[in-house]
């Protein structure tokens, strides 16, 4: 797989000397230990690492869902760790898309309503052409009127992905998006994310422990014990798998 990283790639998000500690004294856990990382715009970045490596924490901190103990986080040019809860919420609403491992959708809303949710929260009218094109890309045109309970797990995650992209966010953060899916549904979702990056120039950051999922990315970062220990450009599933075996060993 050949990936051309733009020479003058701008930075979509970056962390500077970010640490995150839980607890105090001897019992303190360092989930992130002085991590600095830049995520390029228009790239699909996978954050890899074994359980407890701090990869989810890094994602939460980058996405403004959690605040680091120290260090700065920038989304575009905005330093977000000092933002008020309200500003941070509006930032998430307008500039960030989310895909979680599960429970991405409000059970009372239809698929279409879920997709439009962030825009409706913002009081904005969704761009119908754009929404339709995304819906068609994820192959949900037939299921828009259904509620989450009437959709399969894969369909639910695709609705979540459509929602994350619908508001044209600066970055889409995905936290183990395929964790609860069978391999076929997982492949469909990843293919869709890949396509969004390639065709729409979307920036996607994904946390995963699955080397196959990482194989869809342009770049893989490896975390262990709260630090970035390595990275891989244009990773393949096999290469990642081998590397992970080393890390685990």
């Amino acid at each position: 797989m050949t990936v051309t990283t733009p020479v003058l790639a701008s930075t979509a998000a970056r962390a500077e000397s970010v640490s995150k500690h839980y607890g105090e004294g001897d019992a303190a856990v360092r989930a992130l230990d002085d991590v600095s990382v830049s995520l390029q715009a228009g790239q699909f970045t996978a954050i890899m690492g074994p359980s407890g490596s701090g990869k989810s924490t890094l994602l939460h901190v980058l996405a403004g869902l959690d605040r680091p103990t120290s260090g700065q986080v920038y989304l575009g040019d905005t330093e977000i760790t000092s933002l008020s809860d309200r500003k941070l919420t509006l930032l998430r609403r307008d500039q960030i898309g989310f895909i979680f491992q599960s429970f991405n959708l409000l059970p009372t809303l239809t698929a279409a309503e879920n997709i439009e949710l962030p825009m409706r929260i913002a009081g904005r009218r969704p761009d119908p052409l754009w929404v339709r094109s995304i819906v068609e890309t994820v192959g949900l045109a037939e299921r828009l009127g259904h509620r989450p309970a009437e959709l399969s797990g894969g369909q639910q995650q695709r609705v979540a992905a459509a929602r994350a992209l619908a508001s044209r966010p600066q970055v889409v953060f995905a936290d183990e998006p395929t964790g609860a899916l069978d391999s076929r549904s997982g492949a469909e979702l990843l293919g869709f994310l890949r396509g969004a990056v390639r065709d729409l120039g979307q920036t996607v950051v994904m946390v995963t422990h699955d080397p196959v999922a990482a194989g869809y990315a342009d770049r893989a970062l490896f975390l262990a014990d709260g630090s970035i220990v390595d990275e891989m450009t244009a990773p393949t599933a096999d290469a990642v798998f081998d590397y992970m075996k080393q890390l685990g060993a």
Binding site: L65, R92, R93, F98, F100, F103, R120, I121
Partner: protein
Amino acid sequence: MFKTTWRGMTAHKLRLVLTTSSIALGVAFLAGTLILTDTMKVAFDQLFGKVSSGTDAVVRQESAYDASSGISLSRAPIPASALDAVKQVDGVAAAEGAVSGYALLTDTHGKAVLTDGGAPTMGYSMPRDTALRGDIHLLSGHAPRGPHQVAIDASSAEGHDIPLGSQIKVLFRGPTETFTVVGTVGYGGEKDLGGTSAAYFDTATAQRVIGQPGMFDEIDVRAADGVSDATLAKRLDAAAPEGAEAVTGTQVAKEASDALNSQFEFLNIMFGAFAGIALFVGSFIIWNTFSMIVTQRSREIALLRAVGATRRQVNRSLLLEAGLLGVSASAVGVVLGAGVAKGLNAVMAVLGFSLPSTSLQVAPRTIWLSLLVGTAVTVFAAIVPARRATKVLPIEALRDSTPGARHPSRLRAALGTVLTGAGVFAILQGLYGGGGGTLVLLGIAGTLFGAITLSQLLARPLAGLIGSPLRWRGVQGDLARQNAMRNPRRTASTAAALMIGLTLVVSMSTFASSFKASIAPVLKNSTNAELYLTTASAQAAGYSPEASRIAATVPGVAAVSASGWGQARVAGSGAGYSSVDPATAERAFNLHLDAGSAKDLGTDGLMVTSKAAKANGWTIGDTVPVEFAATGTQQFTIRGIFDYNTVVESDYVISLAAQEANEGDRLDSTALILLDRGADADVVKDRITAALADHPDAKVLDQKGFEQEIGGFVDALLALVSAMLLLAVVIALLGIINTLALSVFERTRELGLLRAVGMTRGQVRSMVRWESVVISLIGATLGAGLGVGLGMALARSMKWYGVTELSVPTTQVLAYLVGAALAGVLAAVGPSRSAAKVDVLKAVVTD
């Protein structure tokens, strides 16, 4: 199992507090009512015991009734000559004749000393023998002597600035007289006798102004040393003249206390009813709480079942939890009850029922009854949810599914429809099929329960409908509406509490509004009078007939037709009767006589309504026994049959003379004033007002004023009822808080998701707030609808009694709806805050 139960209870503290309060409030009202009743009884017993402590025995005329019959007790006087015979009886140390009757004090400016809450205004003879006075003390000055001296109760003296030595007018049934105040009187530690205003005269003066010359109302006797009260009473009884009896002083005190207590009985019934309503509303919250507990714990219950707990054990564990909750909530309620009793006492003082002070009486009966009722209601309300718990299968422990909301069953729909239908049918049958008022009330109950049953089915569509304007409130409004529609059972039972409260308040308002709308047309139809004379204070028993006599002498007045009111047993059953002036009644009242004439009433004639005549099969000329307290059974002849009349306000009418003959102390309650042809009503009204300057116990009113006078009592009653029903609304609010808190807890992940994708805290709060408003409005709308319907049914059932019009108090109902919406906002304050504080990470991270 006990440990599991205990852990479960303490796990959700807020829910525990809210559920406990909802039961505790109802129990507090129950306990408060019981405590107040007991306290009043003890206070009156003590007071009358002290007051009559100097009187060992009393000789008086026998009465047909005793104090417990609920009919006002009056006795014929006993001849003064009996006093000599009494003094001859062995063991009598002192004996004096006593007189009591209507006497209204005025202050130094001539204004009436009106008592509050309908307490009597009385005149008494002051015993010469100080021992006979018992605990009636002169606090200042000296006892009245001679024809121009009076001693008055210390409360009136202090409250109306009447100093010793001042000249005041005192109103009697006869002409008003002026007296010099020579003393103030206290009773034990009190300054008045349960709010009664009292004027004391020497015995001869009392006979002249409030009694009859040569007659006593009773003879009070003090025993010689070594003679017991009972022995003395027995000896006196043997010596008493025909028709008289002798009883002990203790007995008289007890009778007086009982009579006063029975006057306050309506308050106990009213407060008791509110306690019942509060507990009923509270039971919905208990039901809701236990449904939530079962839903939340279904995995836990399944696990218990999987490790071997039987259905019965699961059921028992939950009922035990309900029992524990009930007992502890009721215990809190009993403690609060003391405060409620004090509060009610304060409310009554404001309304003018001042009660003698004594320590609060918490009888063992109050404690066990309150605990029993509170616990029983709690356990009863938990039965259905506990049964549902037994249906949780062990396998559910292994499933990872949150139990969804079950949809209301068809059985419920059928049952609700049948109940409501039967209720409505019963109302209609009662109103138009001749079924009577009882059937209407049964129908109202049936409709209410039917509506409660159906509310689960109505909750969803109603939430959708009421919430539809929320679309304009953006996504949070839309989500609020959908959340309210999500679990119709929970929404319905939460709203039901508010529905009941609103149903009661609105039906009362509708009835009152219809009643008031009926006054003017009915009054026009009932009388030909242009002016009315009535009591100055709406609560007074009546005014001196002297005022009617004075009004009749005013130029421009053609006739004054006075009427009075009394109680007797007509044909064996207790009833109120009216008394009219036969000479003028037919001209003044529109009696719509079917047969006979009021002119023929005489002193043994009776007029009855066509309804009473029909019910008893009476016709003109039939003889009916009427039993009076003072004179016993008298045979009356039916001389007229008339239609119900709003001013007459009774099924039975006798002449004023007949009442005078059988009841003695008689007051006028209303007089209809007919004017000379061409006389100006306003001018004559002013003249009458001027003529009655010395009669502040009566006032003259024109048509409009009289309408307002009648309507005013309805307003006062309505205000009191509405204030009490607020309690039900407060409990309903606790239920809404409870439900919202649980919903927020259940929806943590959703809330987290919403926050993650950009919903601000303000938007989250607004979402919960709107959900609360929707739930409140569901209850309020159902309640208002039901209330209007039931209120109109109630009004219709009273058509015979002069509620001829139907009127819906639209503004008031709308105000209640707005109030309910605001209450919803208030209830959401806490839950919306905790919803906004949901930790986004905890909600979205799968662990």
